[in-house]
Symmetry: C2
Subunit: 111 residues, 2 copies
Amino acid sequence: MSNQVFHKFTEIKTKEVAPGFFSKLIHTSGNTINFIDVKQGNSIHRHQHPHEQYSFVIEGKFELVVNDVPMVLDAENFALIPSNAWHSGTAITDCKIIDIFNPVREDYRAL
Amino acid sequence: MSNQVFHKFTEIKTKEVAPGFFSKLIHTSGNTINFIDVKQGNSIHRHQHPHEQYSFVIEGKFELVVNDVPMVLDAENFALIPSNAWHSGTAITDCKIIDIFNPVREDYRAL
């Protein structure tokens, strides 16, 4: 991101970080914030990373599996995924999701 | 927060962190995430803090002033407020806002 304070989402290039997962990525000094649009039925395979991940489903329903425990997330509940926890997920409906990573996802910055 | 992965917003006590600003606060290892409901017309006075603040208006319109520059935020644009920048704001409509602080707001944790 530039040093400016105010930004428009339209200025951020959308990246398909996993098949069907369309992301607007914001990298700050300490976090990557990932605004995701995903259509019903798309899945992210089981994976892990050292970053903590805080996941909020703003619209829709998304089944998240963390360390083999499944939970349907929606606007009423959320997940705080520990460092290196194995996780996967499937969009039960079309979803808008905000994932916050701590620290920055340098792998995403390089996309 | 507890060490568990999955959480419900209903389990988080709502706190009025400024007059008319009703917050659900989530504290992680590196961030405080503040889900705010604010009614039209409420304002937060000019203030500063060492934490960086990333502000996203999920619903509604909120006028944010950072270092004397005003901008109306809505779902299309957002703000990355630097450490110690002076800022204030007013809800132009009823709003749902997500503020992410880096690092943790220990003052909010103590509320």
